[in-house]
């Protein structure tokens, strides 16, 4: 069945790409014309200059090095947030007592943007790896916690009832019913967490790290090399887009039932 659909999938994909390319072309053209219109090249570099800068930092390895370190920080901080937030979220979702206990601290901390902690974190961690990782961890933690708690809380009661009538213990029900039932909403919150965390990386690296994409932007700004600044901004956007795509793919692979249910 999937095989029979393949040519159509391909045609649809190709059609999608055409529309996508056209949109990009219009955007680049508008950018180019705007850059031509602005006399000061420092304010708005043309797409050609940015492409040139992109190529140069790619060739001397600077781009890959900085992108690599930022992505690594993203991975470490989101992984740490997930390891902590998912179990706590499950417990909050299934136990009234635990959710009552944690509700206030969570509600008070959640509205504070991760980057608001940068000044304080500078005192505590200084400039280095730990500051951006802490900020990104903080940013990723709350979406994951609340998404998991909501998912665990809204597990269909009948499914738990069915498992109970089959004689499953509480622990087994947690692992075999609550966790898989909550998985789709955990995966959605993971995407939100990664997106938020990726937004925070630049801010955190801008001031708090001697490396990474945010650091590179700040460095080239001080050198007045706006095409290179723009080039790194483009890379941030592109990587954010690609990680989201990868996570969406991961979600479809881990929870195939949710994919077809949600998109019919």
């Amino acid at each position: 069945m999937i095989r029979a659909g393949a040519p159509w999938e391909l045609i649809r994909w190709f059609g999608g790409m055409l529309i996508y390319c056209r949109t990009m072309a219009v955007f680049l053209l508008a950018w180019y014309l705007a850059a031509e219109a602005v006399p000061n090249k420092l304010l708005l570099p043309s797409p050609l200059a940015v492409a040139q800068a992109l190529r140069e930092s790619w060739l001397d390895g600077e781009l890959t090095a900085n992108a690599g370190i930022s992505l690594l920080r993203l991975l470490v901080s989101v992984a740490a947030a997930a390891v902590l937030a998912i179990p706590i979220g499950l417990a909050m979702g299934r136990s009234r007592m635990i959710s009552d206990l944690l509700e206030w601290p969570v509600e008070l901390l959640r509205p504070i943007a991760g980057i608001a902690w940068i000044p304080l974190a500078l005192f505590i961690f200084g400039i280095g790896q730990r500051l951006p990782i802490f900020i990104m961890f903080y940013t990723a933690f709350f979406p994951l916690l609340l998404g998991t708690a909501a998912g665990a809380q809204s597990v269909d009661r009948r499914l738990i009832a069915a498992a109970r009538t089959m004689g499953l213990s509480r622990g087994t029900i947690m692992r075999r019913v609550v966790v898989p039932a909550a998985l789709p909403s955990v995966l959605v919150s993971l995407r939100l967490a990664v997106a938020a965390s990726w937004t925070a990386v630049v801010a955190a690296e801008l001031v708090g790290a001697p490396s990474g994409l945010g650091y590179a932007i700040e460095y080239y700004r001080s050198m007045l090399a706006t095409p290179t600044v723009m080039a790194f901004i483009v890379v941030i956007g592109l990587l954010g887009f690609l990680t989201d795509r990868a996570l969406r793919w991961l979600g479809d692979a881990l929870a195939p039932w949710a994919r077809t249910e949600g998109r019919q």
Partner: protein
């Protein structure tokens, strides 16, 4: 025999005993009485069917037997011991199936065997074999790897039925298990159900079945006794002994005795059924 000995004897006579069971929902100030003063002995190895108009409390009774709801009044015992919660010896097939959406047909059917006590002592191969057998029994061969959302309503119902059968519980609690199936499949599965229940075996080796249905002829065809409930609140209206000979088959369905029993039960619920439909 003294009185006490009499009750003792009766105690052992009943597999499940309901005494003065009542269940209300909602605020104590304005309760919705779903079931009222229901007393009933379910005999070991008995096939008991329950009929009654929609909303009369059949599912509520089944949920209490399953241990998923606690009665507001009265007591319930299983083998003389109070029912305090669910247990693997009482398998349930839910009216709305309650299939696990993340499990395939095979995964759903094998769920209790893999994760619950039903599969204890079975090797992986034996479990697989049992799952394969019930899949074949309910006619789902070829759909093993599908997810519930990819199935038709009737197929889902058969998965739920197969999941219950795979666990082979001592007591089967079934809520309209064949309602979504076409007439032919229903008749085939009725025959299968009687076979699994043990209609060819001596009464002592049979499982105990509590079976809710909307269909009077299904209730009569399967049952040792039909319980008729009346609605608002759900109360015991009548218990009808079905003395049709076993094993039952197509000849039973065509017999005069069968038709008479159906007619008699229909008479006792028609008035209420009409009232339930009109309002």
């Amino acid at each position: 025999m003294t009185d006490a000995e009499m009750t003792d004897a009766k105690m052992t006579d009943a597999k499940i005993r309901l005494s003065g069971i009542g269940k209300s929902f909602g605020a104590p100030a304005a309760p919705v009485v779903a079931v009222q003063d229901l007393s009933l002995d379910i005999r070991p190895g008995e096939f008991l069917t329950i009929v009654g108009p929609s909303g009369c409390g059949k599912t509520t009774v089944l949920n209490m037997l399953a241990g998923l709801e606690t009665p507001t009044t009265g007591t319930m015992t299983l083998d003389g011991r109070p029912i305090r919660g669910p247990g693997a010896e009482r398998g349930v097939m839910f009216q709305d199936y309650a299939l696990f959406p993340w499990k395939t047909v095979r995964g759903n059917i094998g769920f209790g065997l893999v994760h619950g006590p039903a599969g204890a002592g079975l090797s992986a191969a034996e479990r697989e074999e049992r799952v394969r057998r019930v899949i074949e029994l309910v006619g789902l061969t070829g759909s093993e790897e599908k997810y519930p959302h990819q199935l038709s309503g009737g197929m889902r119902q058969r998965v739920a039925l197969a999941r219950l059968m795979a666990n082979e519980p001592q007591i089967l609690l079934m809520d309209e298990p064949l309602a979504a199936l076409d007439a032919q499949t229903r008749i085939i599965l009725q025959d299968e159900l009687l076979r699994i229940w043990g209609q060819d075996k001596p009464a002592a080796e049979r499982r105990t079945v509590v079976y809710i249905t909307h269909s009077i002829d299904e209730a009569v065809f399967l049952a040792d006794r039909v319980v008729v409930l009346s609605s608002h609140p759900g109360r015991l209206k009548r218990i009808v002994e079905i003395d049709l000979p076993r094993p039952r088959d197509d000849a039973t369905r065509l017999s005069k005795a069968f038709a008479d029993l159906c007619q008699s039960i229909w008479q006792s619920i028609r008035e209420e059924a009409y009232r339930a439909t009109m309002t």
